[in-house]
Subunit: 189 residues, 2 copies
């Protein structure tokens, strides 16, 4: 049972309040390109993330706006920033570290929201039936090729608006030697 | 059966000829700190690697000098350089891409030697007996923690001068959420 994998580069989701602080009053994010998950898109807008040790410039904003601002970065980014990102499921940001976010019109100090996104699989409800798994189940994913790995502890997220795809960060993808669209195998535990 | 893991950051091994071109006639590498493998050491010297897309500055030289110059970089480094490093065992550089190497006293265009080091285990002969594996065998290595993975296709290298340790690059280490000295489990195939 196989599905495609995709590598998520560092990115940030912004709240409406923070969009206005960073880009100006009444500002709306502008569409750059659609992402694989329906309704999600990369924006033309970029911001800088500033930590105690360094700055990462030009971090892509993803839309639409979310209730809470959340930046998803790699461990390598964490070392560069001087902020060690905990591995968290998207949205689970209580107790996570913050940073300064700098936009063209302003800046904001967030007190939480810097995470390394836990590897996960998006599945449409129909896919979950085919794969015989349920929402929030943890599975293993095997990749192929000379750098093949088995990713353990992979969260399954099932929703009627989701498109079938596994998401890893760039370090995880490079460690496995995979590129966007490569097929990987689900192993239910 | 467990052993320690270590993350190798990007580095370069230089031939005597290239040391003299980069650092001056008769130059000898100077010792910065010992590495875990007996006789191997990090040097004070650093060089820049220049590719068609970008430069990586301050790449640490490892000593002693080797018969052939070889730079071990990550896939992320490869994207930055514009040189995709093939995954190779150390020393196996025929047909690999080259780059320009820049030192304080000169520069040299190498026509091969840019690789991503294949994940591998150094084992003393006694350790190989204990683990019941032989030189050049391929095994699996399981890591632990929330980002646990199983690395497949791991090369075992056995030699009476080796100290027991698994080596991965920084992306592989970060993908598994491990740090230097963490214990991992060997699974013979």
């Amino acid at each position: 049972m196989k599905l495609p994998i995709a590598l998520s580069n560092r990115h940030i989701h912004l709240s409406k309040e923070h969009i206005e602080i960073l880009f100006g009053e009444g500002y709306e994010l502008t569409h750059f390109k659609d992402l694989s998950q329906p309704g999600q898109y990369a924006c033309n807008e970029k911001v800088d993330i500033v930590g105690p040790k360094g700055t990462i410039k030009g971090v892509r904003v993803l839309g639409p706006a979310r209730p809470q601002t959340q930046a998803e970065v790699s461990f390598a980014d964490g070392f560069a920033l001087g902020i060690m990102p905990p591995v968290k499921d998207s949205g689970d940001i209580e107790g996570t570290p913050g940073a300064k976010i700098v936009g063209p019109k302003g800046e904001v100090e967030i007190d939480k929201g810097i995470i390394a996104a836990a590897r996960h699989i998006h599945m449409h409800t129909d896919d979950a039936e085919k794969f015989n798994v349920v929402d929030k189940q943890r599975v293993k994913i095997k990749t192929f090729g000379e750098r093949s790995v088995v990713f353990e502890n992979v969260l399954v997220r099932v929703h009627p608006t989701f498109a079938l795809e596994m998401h890893v960060d760039v370090e995880e993808g490079n460690a496995a030697g995979v590129k966007n669209g490569d097929m990987v195998e689900l192993i239910a535990e």
